[in-house]
């Protein structure tokens, strides 16, 4: 059993960008890979693979009943996989009431955790959700009970995902006990791509081939994925969002957030922002 390589992140932190890189790297083709056929999917919280692995409908179970089976589903998938399996995940690294981790280290090869300046995450997340109500997103990012897809009125195509607050999400993965985790900053992927993507490739024990890394970076450039989305659309775009690939810039929060909104994010997440180099010694945003 090779185990699963988790591609973990809070939403809007470079996960899809990395999957585009990974797909290009693995295929090693002469032209950019199709963004509508990316590796690393479906997401760990997808409902259909869960139902198929378990043998009955998650739609007829409570979210806690589902969560109790999720660790076994991942072990099952890791055992069944013929080659290294890459799997995107937005869940925070959490533990069930009996102490078992939702994502078992025994099912895991390693985890690549993508982190991005929360000031930029807030802006990107709002656009992704099809609005610009930044205050609402900022509240969500500070809320420990924050979850995705937790509704009892319908059956969403994904299972409930406990995101926790942005800070707790980052810490949950960066400090996950018994897991081999490499934290990759979005800003480093942008500013020092060859070094950063190269480190990820080596950490995941993929072929250490600088030329192949360089080509995959080129094929997954923002302009390329944007062009593809404009032409053919992107299946992972939220229905209400205008586009998935919007700007892909560092520091665009400076044009979008009010000083009060930025200050609120910094106040909510100072400790983790400092730890990952998003605040300088004076407490000012670095990017």
């Amino acid at each position: 059993m090779k185990g699963i390589v988790w591609l973990a992140s809070y939403p809007k932190s470079g996960n899809t960008w990395f999957r585009t890189f990974l797909t290009n790297f693995l295929r090693d083709g002469d032209a950019p890979a199709n963004i509508n056929a990316l590796d690393g999917g479906p997401i760990a919280s997808a409902r259909i693979p869960f139902d198929e692995a378990v043998g009955y409908d998650s739609g007829e179970m409570t979210y806690d009943e589902i969560d109790r089976l999720r660790p076994e589903v991942y072990l099952h998938q890791a055992r069944e996989a013929k080659e290294t399996m890459f799997c995107k995940v937005h869940d925070a690294y959490t533990f069930l009431s009996d102490g078992r981790p939702l994502i078992p280290p025994e099912a895991t090869a390693c985890a690549l955790y993508f982190v991005r300046n929360p000031l930029d995450v807030a802006v990107s997340f709002a656009h992704h959700s099809g609005h610009d109500r930044f205050d609402r997103i900022i509240r969500h990012m500070a809320k420990e009970e924050n979850s995705f897809c937790e509704t009892d009125a319908t059956e969403t195509n994904q299972l409930r995902q406990k995101l926790l607050s942005w800070s707790s999400h980052v810490k949950s993965w960066a400090d996950a006990p018994g897991m081999r985790v490499l934290v990759l900053r979005y800003e480093d992927m942008k500013q020092r791509p060859e070094e950063t993507f190269g480190a990820a490739v080596r950490f995941a024990e993929l072929p250490d081939d600088a030329a192949r890394v360089k080509k995959a970076i080129e094929f997954s450039r923002f302009e390329e994925v944007r062009k593809q989305e404009e032409k053919d659309g992107f299946g992972e775009r939220m229905p209400r969002a205008k586009s998935f690939f919007r700007k892909g810039e560092i520091g665009s929060w400076r044009e979008s957030l009010t000083p009060e909104q930025a200050a609120k994010i910094v106040a909510d997440h100072a400790e983790v922002m400092r730890r990952f180099g998003y605040l300088d010694e004076k407490g000012e945003p670095v990017f």
Binding site: V54, Y56, L69, A153, T154
Partner: protein, 310 residues
């Protein structure tokens, strides 16, 4: 089959489902009652269920499937053993109530039983259209039951919900069989259908999903399949209907086989594929994309109606 003893009449509730006579120790109020005391096709009994199935060829997280036997475990509810397409044994958890036990019995457990009988078991709901059956295929949550319920509102009887059994008829035409007179709907769907949730039983007391009895709007006889529709969500704003062709039709039936994983352990696979191929050859199939954001239920019904009339 030595452990089967159908000769002696055991006490039990007599029901009809999927064209089979079911005798059950557990009352199954969702199913039609059977008046006949003739020998049953299926027995549902309480008993012991072994932890391991010897010779299991397929294993999921909570199922084991061997030729002629399938074990399904629902934590905190029951363990189920399905044998030879004829006998279901239930070992229930003391904490579970009847509703819990029946939800999984009438879903995956019956699905396994039908697979063992070499039936073609599709993940779909079906309605009656001018004496024929129209089947809506799709993954969980895509809106099969809601669409069937919308057709019911327009005066079309429902044949089955979620689990659709297709068997060849005497003239070779593939027939969809009636399941049982109930659909299951979430609160959002009830709202879209303008149906009050009040008085509708929760399918399990922990869930908001409701059981909607069909009463007289249920077809009790098998009907030839007129057309199949595969429902799929997309993230665009429009509805789109495209006819599927050739091998694509067979692949869709394969991908929307109910609990396809069970089949790997069952020796009925050849029969399954033979029936799927026959259905694909006989029946037109269209793929319908609907927005994942807004359901557009009325528009969807209108689109399917227009297609069926064309």
């Amino acid at each position: 089959m030595s452990d089967l003893d159908f000769g002696t009449a055991v006490a039990g509730h007599q029901h009809l489902a999927f064209g089979l006579r079911v005798r059950s120790s557990l009352p199954l109020p969702e199913l039609l009652p059977a008046v006949s005391t003739a020998q049953s096709d299926v027995e549902v009994v309480y008993g012991e269920v072994p932890a391991e199935l010897p010779g299991a060829l397929a294993r999921g997280v909570r199922y084991q499937s061997a030729p002629g036997a399938l074990r399904l475990q629902v934590d905190g509810v029951a363990n189920y053993l399905v044998r030879d397409g004829r006998r279901i044994t239930i070992a229930r958890d003391p904490a579970a109530d009847d509703d819990d036990v029946r939800v999984f019995l009438l879903g995956s457990v019956f699905g396994a039983l039908l697979h063992q009988r070499q039936d073609l078991v599709l993940h779909g709901s079906a309605i009656e259209w001018a004496g024929e059956a129209v089947v809506f295929l799709g993954h969980s949550g895509v809106g099969k039951s809601t669409l069937a319920a919308a057709f019911r509102k327009k005066g079309h009887a429902v044949l089955t919900d979620d689990l659709c059994v297709v068997r060849p008829g005497p003239d070779g035409r593939m027939l969809a069989y009636p399941g049982f007179p109930q659909t299951k709907l979430w609160l959002d769907s009830l709202k879209q259908l303008d149906v009050s949730a009040e008085g509708l039983r929760r399918i399990r007391n922990k869930l908001e999903k409701r059981a909607v009895p069909l009463g007289g709007d249920f077809v009790g006889t098998p009907l030839p399949v007129k057309k199949l529709y595969l429902l799929r969500p997309h993230n665009k704003d429009d509805l789109k209907l495209t006819a599927a062709q050739g091998p694509q039709k067979f692949n869709i039936l394969k991908n929307h086989t109910y609990r396809f994983g069970f089949l790997a352990g069952i020796d009925g696979k050849a029969g399954h594929f033979q029936h799927a191929l026959k259905l694909a050859q006989q029946t037109p199939l269209a793929v319908v994309l609907r927005p994942s954001g807004a359901f557009l239920l009325d528009e969807l019904v209108a689109l399917v109606e227009a297609d069926l009339r064309a």
